[in-house]
Amino acid sequence: MEPILSVQNLNKYYGDQVGCKNMNMTLYPGEVVGVVGESGSGKTTFINSISGNLNPDRGKILINKDNEIINFLEISESLKRLLIRTELAFVHQNPRDGLRLDVSAGGNISERLMSIGQRNYGNIRQTIFKWLDKVEIDKSRVDDFPRTFSGGMLQRLQIAKNLVTSPKIIFMDEPTGGLDVSVQAKILDLLRKLVRELNLSVVIVSHDLAVIRLLADKIIVMKNGEAVETGLCDQVLDDPQHSYTQLLVSSVLQV
């Protein structure tokens, strides 16, 4: 099996400040990679740099689209935009960043469909209902504005909005960050089911090691903009080798 996404020696600086440097990652179809580390360690810079939100200064991002390798940083801006709308998806920590609050729930979901050229109202409406059902939002809410939704519903709506065009690679920045724990469990369950059903490949940033343990296959531990330890998720968490990972793992409160 070939990786669907491969990041090689990626660097992003803010002036003289290191955002992230020498980052490498291989993501296979159906695989979830977790990126962990404390605030300011470069997690968000990294995920933004590999998803088209930021322009990295150096490095390579290779995306495998139907066995054709696309050099993401060297293609035209319009092709990049198309890829971002079709092959990639980005789920923000704050769903308000990923949704249009003055457009109905259904309108939010249909946006990506229309942007890739779907015009048949009946088909679009059907797809919207299918996705509302998948993320467990009642159909009757389809014409309501997101601002009338709870935090957990907004996050589920954002997930539906992103997945509607069947992207293969999903980037998530703290997707359960602002949610209370009971809602968090529901989102985690939903994400796991979707990953399996749709064979999604996911890069997920979180500072919550418990979330990462439940979702991720592999892990990247970041500190000061660099990866200090990478590997199999439960190996890195159960038998961490780097002193920083040991500190991180031993700092988690037991419930």
């Binding site: 291989t26 296979y28 695989e31 724990v181 009971s182 469990a185 529901k186 985690l188 369950d189 796991r192 399996r196 343990r213 439940l214 296959d217 592999k218 590997g231 199999l232 439960d234 190996q235 159960d238 038998d239 080798q241 780097h242 002193s243 040991q246 500190l247 031993s250």
Partner: protein, 225 residues
């Protein structure tokens, strides 16, 4: 077949004065298909560590571990993921699941990775839950609120629903009453008869005898400290 050849394992605790804890030196172990090996020895001697090295949770400093002739190499996590998906089953002592996910779905999950027929998988999950005396009323509830013994049986159901060529069992009967313990032991014996290589930790001698397990005292084969 599971093989451990000349394994050295130590822990280095960087944040606690770089303390080195040596667990194994030159550890050798082999579990044949259709065989059950029971690890014995006092707690803290490294019984669980052996299971965790085989499953890939723990790294080792030297030597090699081979599962059906396939070497465990932490440089290639993808291969360990594949190995877990196809070859090694693991029943741990504790249930670790997403809150609010129903028991039946937790048990179905390992099979869904290789079998996409939801109905068939559900039937097999229902059967093993019935075999293990988990009340039907509980199937649609999260196991996190269950009793210790019930949780353990859910864990066993999840680990034994498939026929893995290699099976790792960490105290699978520790909190079970005698009736349920016998049921679990019989299920384990079935897996052995189907040709699994099984290695486990069983705290009571009667279980080890019942399984006709080859006992290995870890204190005699590891040379820690």
């Amino acid at each position: 077949m599971i093989e451990l050849n000349n394994i050295t394992k130590k822990f280095t605790l960087h944040n606690q004065g770089r303390t080195n804890i040596s667990v194994f030196k030159n550890l050798n172990l082999k579990i044949n298909p259709g065989e059950i090996v029971a690890l014995t020895g006092p707690s803290g001697v490294g019984k669980s560590s052996i299971l965790k090295m085989i499953y890939g949770n723990y790294v080792f400093q030297s030597g090699e571990i081979k599962i059906n002739n396939y070497k465990i190499d932490h440089k290639y996590p993808r291969n360990i993921i594949e190995l877990r998906k196809n070859t090694i089953g693991y029943v741990s002592q504790f249930l670790r699941v997403i809150p609010r996910v129903p028991t039946i779905e937790i048990v179905m999950e390992p099979l869904l990775e290789i079998n996409f027929d939801q109905e068939e998988v559900r039937e097999r999950a229902e059967k093993i839950l019935l075999d293990l005396n988990i009340d039907k009323n509980l199937w649609n509830l999260s196991p996190l609120t269950f009793s210790g013994g019930e949780q353990q049986r859910v864990n066993v159901a999840r680990g034994l629903i498939r026929n893995y060529p290699c099976l790792l069992l960490d105290e699978p009967t520790a909190s079970l009453d005698n009736v349920n313990k016998d049921i679990v032991l019989n299920l384990i014996n079935e897996k052995k008869d189907k040709g699994s290589s099984i290695i486990g930790i069983f705290h009571d001698e009667s279980s080890r005898k019942y399984l006709n397990a080859r006992e290995i005292d870890i204190t005699k084969i590891s040379h820690g400290n």
